[in-house]
Structures are given as C-alpha cells and as structure tokens.
Symmetry: C2
Subunit: 135 residues, 2 copies
C-alpha cells in the first residue's frame, strides 16, 4: 500500500528522501516501480541538467518507453553505481534540499550534486530539481 | 516598462537574479516596487525559514500590510545590510540556484545561504525558496 507509508508528519521529508534515494539504487523493476509510487506524487516532475521525466512511468523510464531517460536507463549505463545522500535533509514550507553523490559502491564519487524538492500535501515528491556540483 | 526589460534569452537567469538581488538592497520604496515588478511574476512566491510572501505587494510588504515580512521590514530591521550574490547563477530547465550573503556593507556576512528559483515563461521569478547555510 504505497500511499499509506508516508504521511505529512514531522519526519516526512526525511522518509520521502530515503524512499527517493532507494529508487535510484533498486535494480529490480517491480520493486523500483513500487518505490517510485511511495516516493513520488502521481504528477511528479524530475529535472536535472541531463534528464527530464514526468510521472511515475517517466521517472522509472522503462526501456520500452524511452532508452534515454529514467532510473532504469541510468542503472543500465552505470551498473553498480550507488546514489548516496551526503547531507542532512534541510526542509521548510514543504520544500527541501539535500546533497548527494553517485559512484561505484567501493570507489570515489563520479558525480556530486544537490537536489531541491517540493513535497505534495501527502508528503510525496511533487518536484525534484537536481544541480551538479562536481563531475 | 518593467515587463520589457527581461526576456527569455540565454542570459535571462543572470539578469533576473541581478534584478532580484537589487530589490533587497533598494531602500527607496518606489524604486524597490518597480524592481520587484521587473524581477518577479505577478503571482510570485517567496519562502525561506523565516518569511513567506506572495505577490508583488507581499514581497515588498509595505508596513501597512504587514510589519513582520518583506524586504521593507528586513531593511528596517537591519539598516545598512547588503545582500550579495556569492556564486554564479547555475540554471537549467527554467530553474536556477545561486549562493548569497547578507551583512553590513563593510563587515563580514551575518547570514549565508542558497536561493533556488523557478522562472516564469517571461523570465521573471515564479518562486524563490531560500535555505540558510550559516548564521
């Protein structure tokens, strides 16, 4: 029951970010899609300098829909890479930011950046805008 | 003619941020209000951990409307303080971020932070969300 796992409690921003980070690292398609439904509002929008995706299916980006976008494509291109949250979740007014790194499990980060997120009233992600700090 | 001074050209994000920063430092009410109309879309929203303002009048926050919010109130509380942009403007997909500091003209910064902004199609600010890095 994805919708019941998050609620707008005081630690909702942290729980939402944990669910979001987990979707980046989940390579089982069914579990990743369930996680996306936990973390994201139905009309969620993702934007970074390289990718733009809308809605649960767009964010997951099954290869049949698009080979160029989405978590599935990122995982296919960078097998074994792990997304890690590297700062606390700093939130106010339904908005939050956190820093992250992406790279191989045992090696140094290949990309680092900041995600700026807006939460829907149910605590799920309405928008994620990613910025790159180093590559 | 505030609406004609900004257009969605390649350097629009920089020009918008310059116009926005200038409104923080403009103590003449009429010039500040004209600057706000240049920098902000009519339905613009400002959020930081301490202030929330909507629309041109709310962002300006004439004392008759509210003594607790807005640029006029900040200037009254911290006379001589200057807002400075301390990073480049990093933008993509109509979204941008930049770092700033606030403090006395000749002294060290009292507050530092990051603003995340969404631009309207005309290049003006639709939303500014500020986060504090140090105080």
């Amino acid at each position: 029951m994805p919708d019941s796992t998050l609620s707008p409690t005081s630690n909702a921003p942290d729980a939402t970010v944990e669910a979001y980070v987990a979707t980046w690292n989940e390579t089982d398609a069914a579990r990743r899609q369930a996680g996306i439904a936990c973390a994201w509002a139905a009309a969620g929008r993702y934007r970074d300098p390289l990718m733009a995706s809308d809605g649960h299916a767009g964010i997951d980006a099954m290869p049949a829909l698009s080979e160029a976008e989405g978590l599935a494509a990122v995982q296919a291109r960078f097998p074994g890479f792990v997304l890690r949250r590297t700062s606390k979740v700093d939130s106010h007014n339904g908005q939050l930011r956190f820093s992250w790194s992406l790279g191989p499990e045992a090696g140094p980060a290949v990309v680092e950046g900041v995600d700026f997120c807006a939460l829907a009233v149910d605590g799920r992600l309405e928008q994620v805008v990613g910025f790159i700090d180093g590559m």
